[in-house]
């Protein structure tokens, strides 16, 4: 990727990240009458935007019907999580201590990553409307909602397209030889107010991010989700793949609560016209 492309990509990234963090004044560009106008009911928009001031972490009530989620932080509500656009997890993520991530590539992984950079990520599986995988579901900017049930947690995700991710919390272990899938086999438990998710059983058909950090079937991801206040979901992901990285490495990002907003249907496959135009250079 040329410097100029990288510069624009970074500008776009910073801009998108900034946009995700600040109230949207795009509401002031409400289309004039005759152009359609803002849809009512389903959307909350306009003025200073959708953000409410941050409050304390919402909690589910103590109730045996909520099983493992009884009394735990509430990751849901009438709204949705806006997932930021993390093009490059190394550049846009942080270590848990807030520092710069150093990716412990092995030579094979670096080669793959460099090839993807040089070809402008044209082979990105997301371009084929395939699911983003994990943790990339929290790096591809389609919103998600999290539903907490008695013995499991369900992520429903607008992108990827229109996929769900089920996290079992009934104490089960991973199957001994899981069939490789895009989103893996996920089991979870609470550590205090942090949801810890352990996922294995990935196929090798996803990229860890749009920049193309690679992984294979040995990928093991441990995520830690914490709703630090009413507006913020802290997303920590530890990537462990001995075929590509010399040791595990951890990326921290966030997602932002959009009150009143809802997921829309997104069927990526319906009119995918770009593939024929993707050029490597």
């Amino acid at each position: 990727m040329t410097f100029r492309n990288t510069g624009w990509l970074l500008a776009g990234t910073v801009a998108l990240t900034v946009a995700a963090l600040i109230p949207s004044a795009a509401g002031q560009e409400t289309p004039a009458g005759g152009l359609g106008g803002p849809p009512r009911g389903q959307f909350v928009r306009g003025g200073r935007g959708n953000r409410l001031p941050a409050g304390p972490t919402p909690r589910l009530p103590e109730n045996p019907l909520l099983g493992v989620n009884s009394g735990k932080p509430d990751f849901g509500g009438k709204g949705m999580w806006q997932v930021p656009y993390i093009i490059d997890m190394q550049k846009q993520g942080r270590t848990p201590e807030g520092g710069t991530i150093e990716v412990p590539f092995n030579p094979a992984a670096k080669k793959v990553f460099d090839q993807r950079t040089e070809t402008n990520s044209k082979d990105d599986p997301e371009g084929f409307c395939l699911p983003p995988g994990v943790p990339r579901m929290m790096y591809t900017p389609y919103p998600t909602q999290i539903y907490q049930l008695a013995d499991r947690i369900l992520f429903i995700y607008e992108g990827g397209a229109h996929v769900w991710r089920l996290i079992w919390m009934d104490g089960r272990k991973h199957p001994p030889d899981p069939n490789p899938t895009f989103l893996g086999d996920a089991i979870g438990h609470w550590e205090g107010d942090t949801l810890v998710v352990d996922t294995v059983g990935f196929n090798d058909r996803t990229w860890l991010d749009a920049a193309g950090h690679p992984h294979g079937e040995k990928l093991h991801v441990i995520e830690r989700y914490t709703r630090t206040d009413s507006n913020t979901l802290r997303v920590e992901a530890t990537i462990d793949d001995p075929d590509y990285y010399t040791k595990p490495w951890t990326v921290v990002t966030t997602a932002t609560w959009a009150p009143g907003q809802e997921l829309l249907e997104y069927i990526c496959q319906e009119n995918n016209r770009d593939l024929q135009h993707l050029v490597g250079k």
């Binding site: 100029r4 990509l9 776009g12 560009e29 359609g36 106008g37 093009i87 990526c268 770009d274 135009h277």
Partner: protein, 132 residues
């Protein structure tokens, strides 16, 4: 405008859910090939992963080329108040954007203005590309 506020303005303009399919602006479009065309809308495809519209553009010699433009996902556009009826066949519009690297009559639309200057699809754009 201070540096910080210009970032914020840029952020407002680039606040979007980029289309899922095709994540690399740079793989498809050339930000060294800006374009600006004026013409008549012939078709609107309000579909994922990118809303698309087509414009008949007449050159100085009178030859008409049908240009294809893409925007972000309709979902992102709808969240900003635009609908499938915001642009109509027959509208005369001016589009600025960036041309496809493969040389076809395809562009990534950054701004769309009606003849009276009103903006259509403002406040949304595609992934990774330059801000206006």
């Amino acid at each position: 405008m201070t540096k910080k506020s210009s970032w914020i303005v840029a952020g407002l303009l680039v606040a979007a859910a980029p289309a899922f399919a095709h994540h690399s602006f740079a793989a498809e479009y050339d930000n060294n090939k800006p374009l600006k065309v004026t013409g008549t809308v012939t078709k609107v495809e309000w579909q994922n992963p990118h809303a698309r519209f087509y414009v008949d553009v007449k050159d100085d010699a009178g030859k008409v080329t049908n240009w294809e433009f893409e925007l972000g996902s309709p979902n992102g556009l709808m969240r900003r108040g635009w609908t499938r009826n915001s642009l109509k066949v027959g509208d005369t519009i001016t589009v600025t954007g960036y041309q496809a690297k493969d040389g076809t009559s395809l562009g990534n639309a950054r701004t769309v203005n009606l003849a009276d200057g009103r903006k259509v699809f403002a406040g949304s754009t595609d992934d990774g590309g330059p801000t206006q």
